[in-house]
């Protein structure tokens, strides 16, 4: 397969030279060197990747989710593979705020790329504590607030699925954080636009879409779930169509709200789909496991593809999707909705 010739489709405009493509872009108040970032939980705290890739080629990275106290994570097995995807139930294992700021942050700060610190709590108080401590730490560009964990006890699930609760939680964190807050939403919520709007009104700078989707797999021989906690979070290319749809829904309903899109990006073309759907930047998660240089490769692919399509700046791509022309003879009059 790898040797097959590249036969390109019709270019929209004459191509550009790749080096003339400008990947630097704005995301809300931020200036990113590139719209491609490494996703939370898939890049640890960055160090392990230095042996494999040039971390400065990244637009930024989001850290493993940080909680006030260290967490040890879930029983095993914690991961398994599914068709074009994987399930995980790591259990938000992390070193805790104190060790993170002391041991991990200095390394990240020195990279000169956008540092997003993903965090979560188990209740209002711990969320707020995290936002205060991390949002004030030097070198933190964004606090990415994970309200998606379907596992936390004490009504935690409501953080990610009930708009009013998410609104209150976001407002409380925004008030104490020195850094802008991007809220990471869960696709398990029934009404993703309602959730995005709720956190936007609470002062979130933007939203990250999407976290993993709750899923399950069974080993029929042992008759056990393949993940010890029965359910796990589905990531990878399998979820890309769902992620793209949610990004497009939110971008269409709430124009102007910065969206960081993610879910199954493995190539520059995948990343461009997210930009066109309305994401201002894109995170890459699962792809890093197989290929520690994934973000760098995908960045090169994105640049080449943008050049081929005559897209000089990231802003030329963002939300540039064209609707199907209703006047075309290929269309029946009533379009715009779908059913199977």
């Amino acid at each position: 397969m790898s040797g097959a010739p590249r036969t390109s489709g019709p270019a929209l405009v004459p191509g550009l030279l790749p080096h003339t493509v400008e990947l630097g872009c704005e995301f809300g108040p931020l200036l990113l060197k590139s719209p491609l970032l490494a996703a939370s939980g898939c890049f640890a705290y960055g160090q392990q990747f230095a042996a494999f890739t040039d971390l400065r080629a990244l637009g930024g990275l989001s850290t493993k989710g940080i909680s006030p106290l260290p967490r040890h994570g879930n029983p095993l097995p914690r991961i398994c593979e599914t068709a074009a995807g994987m399930l995980n139930s790591i259990g938000l294992e992390n070193v805790g705020v104190e060790a993170f700021v002391r041991d991990k942050l200095p390394f990240l700060r020195d990279l000169g790329i956008s540092v997003w610190v993903n965090f979560f709590g188990t209740d209002f108080a711990t969320y707020i504590e995290c936002a205060r401590l991390l949002g004030g730490a030097p070198g933190v560009d964004v606090l990415e607030m994970n309200i998606s964990c379907p596992n936390i006890k004490q009504g935690g699930i409501e953080f990610g699925t009930v708009p009013e609760v998410a609104h209150r939680l976001t407002r409380a964190c925004v008030e104490v954080s020195g850094a802008p807050i991007v809220v990471k939403l869960t696709p398990n919520a029934g009404d993703i636009v309602g959730m995005a709007d709720a956190v936007r009104q609470a002062g979130a700078m933007g939203v990250s879409l999407i976290n993993t989707i709750t899923g399950m797999a069974i080993d029929v021989r042992s008759r056990r779930p393949r993940i010890a906690t029965t359910y796990g979070g589905l990531s990878g290319p399998a979820i890309k169509p769902i992620a793209l749809r949610m990004v497009h829904q939110v971008a269409t309903a709430l124009p102007g709200l910065p969206i960081c899109g993610m879910g199954g990006v493995l190539s520059g073309e995948d990343a461009l789909e997210f930009l066109m759907a309305g994401a201002g930047c894109v995170q890459i998660g699962t792809a890093n496991f197989a290929e520690p240089g994934a973000v760098q490769r995908i960045t090169a692919e994105l640049r080449a593809l943008m050049a081929e399509l005559g897209l000089r700046r990231v802003a030329d791509a963002v939300a540039s999707l064209r609707p199907w022309p209703l006047e075309a003879a290929y269309q029946t009059p009533a379009a715009g909705e779908f059913s199977t």
Binding site: C42, A44, R78, I79, E81, A84, E93, T286, P292
Partner: protein
Amino acid sequence: MTAAQFEARVAANTRLGGGYFSLELEAEEPTPVAAARPGQFVMLRGAWGRELLNPRAFSVLHAEGKRLTILAKAYGQGTRRMWALRPGEPMTVTGPLGVGFPDPDPEITDLLVAGGVGLPPLHMQARVAAAAGLAGKQELFYGGRDREDLVLLADFERWGVAATLATEDGSVGVRGYVTTALAPRLEQARAAGERVRVLSCGPTPMLVAVRQIGLAHEVQTLLCLEENMACGFGVCLGCAVPVHGVKPYRYCCTDGPVFDARELRWP
């Protein structure tokens, strides 16, 4: 000897019977995997699109210069595809990864307890020892379901490493589990004041038994574990291994895959 990710091509894919195969890969240049110790592993992935996302872990059987060889059994999606690979097909390799077994020691006899695809680390330990003139300090205990489940025996013979074989159907060696032969050997060592340690790799139920026997006889017992892995380099946190101590888990890929039996929070 830091790990790298590089491209390689299948140089040979040899079917050994029973679904086992040894896959030899060749890179463009000498690779860091050539420095791998027994027990270290590589992550392998073929050009198989988006269906199988993550690479699979394989112990290094042998590596030198541009070449590296692994031993596997066609079982799941990945190994079945690998079984069918033909010379020239591409694979992406990451490695060497993990912490391996300790060096052979002239003062200590290594009892190598292997089951199924757990052979490679012990195979390499025996080869390294033989190259250092310590073949006499290596003894293989090798178990499988049947005759086809025991492969690469000729190598051990050539190196002069003694082998005790066991099959569940009794077709080769003693009938039953290989662990049955381990306890008497440890008794004998104790009686003779001989210094021994146990190095083992294989299916988890076997390792559980080896651990209990090793602990009962108070000999150093090192187990090479095979946890599900997504990354192999300490990032996904999927390969947790339950241990005693302040932290309930360590990581198979970076802290292991070789663990001391005492450390494991196992039955």
